[in-house]
């Protein structure tokens, strides 16, 4: 919905459902990177999936609201009139991502017995979940994965089968105009990005580390067998968040 500025209110609301699928997400990807073109006939089965830029749900609201004129008194009006509130609300599904692994002393290429093309992929042995949750230490079920076995063809899992946390953010602004002359105005403006200081999960520790090739016991799980948090940077935990509240104060002269 787009409401043009009328009676002090400008409003825009839109929602987009989108889906982007393909075998590669960038122009001229590297030959060793995840999702690199394969040399056998399994290119589509291995790499056809959500693109890196796939964002399933997009919802945006933007508005500008000019507060009604509070008084006709010139002196009080200088302080009470010409206030403006504006903002943007944004909800967007997080980016899709992959799960990696590390076997000490063994490269992913060694497991597939080839070189300079993509190696084995993480294997799923349980329900990993959606890839995100409100618990910063359990973005997915960390026990649902294991490393591929020697002789892997790199087909254990597809591409981009988990999704990061969504963006759920409010940007708000408060502005006050002061008349300088008949045509010139001074605007003092306070902008707050992520105004509610809502923690926005972003990157995830998504690399499983195991003890050895013959003993694929994970060594970087965040919780021990009793459920105690023992590794805050373990597999499946949040490694970075999006920016906290940022505020800026500015002055503009309009003429």
């Amino acid at each position: 919905m787009n409401r043009r500025f009328q009676k002090g209110l400008l409003l825009g609301v839109n929602y987009t459902w989108s889906k982007a699928l393909g075998t590669q997400g960038q122009d001229l990807p590297g030959i060793n990177s995840f999702g690199a073109p394969r040399i056998d006939g399994n290119q589509r089965s291995a790499n056809y999936g959500p693109q890196d830029f796939d964002r399933r749900h997009n919802f945006n609201v933007s508005w500008v609201y000019e507060l009604p004129r509070a008084t006709t008194n010139k002196l009080f009006g200088y302080a009470l009139n010409e206030w403006q509130l504006s903002g943007i609300y944004r909800y967007q599904t997080g980016a899709p991502y992959n799960i990696g692994f590390t076997v000490p002393g063994i490269s992913a290429y060694t497991l597939t017995g080839t070189q300079t093309i993509e190696g084995g992929r993480i294997a799923v042995v349980g329900d990993p979940g959606k890839g995100t949750s409100s618990d910063p230490y359990r973005q997915f079920n960390a026990t649902a994965f294991t490393t591929p076995k020697p002789g892997s063809l790199g087909l254990e899992t597809g591409r981009n089968f988990l999704y990061r946390s969504p963006i759920n953010s409010w940007d708000l602004s408060l502005a006050k105009r002061f008349a300088i002359t008949e045509k010139a105005k001074l605007e003092i403006r306070l902008d707050a990005f992520n105004a509610l200081n809502h923690t926005q999960f972003d990157s995830i520790n998504s690399t499983l580390i195991v003890r050895s090739l013959t003993d694929p016991t994970p060594t970087n799980l965040p919780f021990d067998a009793s459920g105690n948090l023992v590794n805050r940077n373990g597999f499946g935990t949040i490694s970075a968040v999006r920016p906290p509240r940022n505020m800026q104060l500015s002055a503009h002269i309009q003429f």
């Binding site: 075998t23 040399i39 300079t116």
Partner: protein, 268 residues
Amino acid sequence: MRFYIIQPQYDEDLQTANFLPDRFNAADAPRLYRPGKDAAGNRVAVDPVTGQTLAAVYIGRIVPNSGKLLNGVVQAGAGIEKGLYKNRGIHIAPRFGFAYDVSGKQNIVIRGGVGMFYDRPQGNVVFDLVRNPPTTLEPTFNFGRLQDIGTGPLLLAPPSLVAYDRQGNSPTTYAFNIGVQYKLWLESVLDVSYVGTVGSHLLQRRNLNAPAYGAAYLAQIRTPRWLRAQCPGQLRCRWISCVRFRVSGTSRTSSRLQAPTITRCKPR
């Protein structure tokens, strides 16, 4: 209807070269020094035909005068296009769009369109071709000083080639959309649209010389442990160590359903 001419990019000095798989003849491939042992049991490089031995550091290098160095490699303008890939001529890009007032009262309007779009391939696909032989060769000088260059063995290693698909298909995007705009109350409009794109001939990079999956587990290509250090994986011991072949053959689809978009269009 639009018409594109996407001329192949080329180096004015014709220093670039391409690798054409159909012009590569395995019988003409140069020999490589293989790992072996001399009479004293020391690890050495061995010419598999003459039995000549060199220091182990030369394992995997090309035996001089043992084959065609430019096997499958063609230089720009030498029997091939200056741009090293075909000029596809005029690209036809039809586009069609429509708007239909269903009721005749502008209460329901259907709009749609479809079109073809071409992209010019990025410059790197040509820029990188300048580092191919014969313009660029990278021999390594071992066991010597600067003033000794030219007096000792100066052997080439298998070059790492960058090639580009000679067919030269242009990355192509097919875009389409269809939507319905329905007039609501309060002079507002509900807009529901489906928007999609499909890409083809998108650039990708593929290693033409990569060994098959599982190759390292085959006994016949394994290198004995005592020889492994100088010839990692044995896989480099081919005439060409790596061909980064750029082809335009991948596809990508994207579709969006944009709903609901309500537009208030009452004039101020």
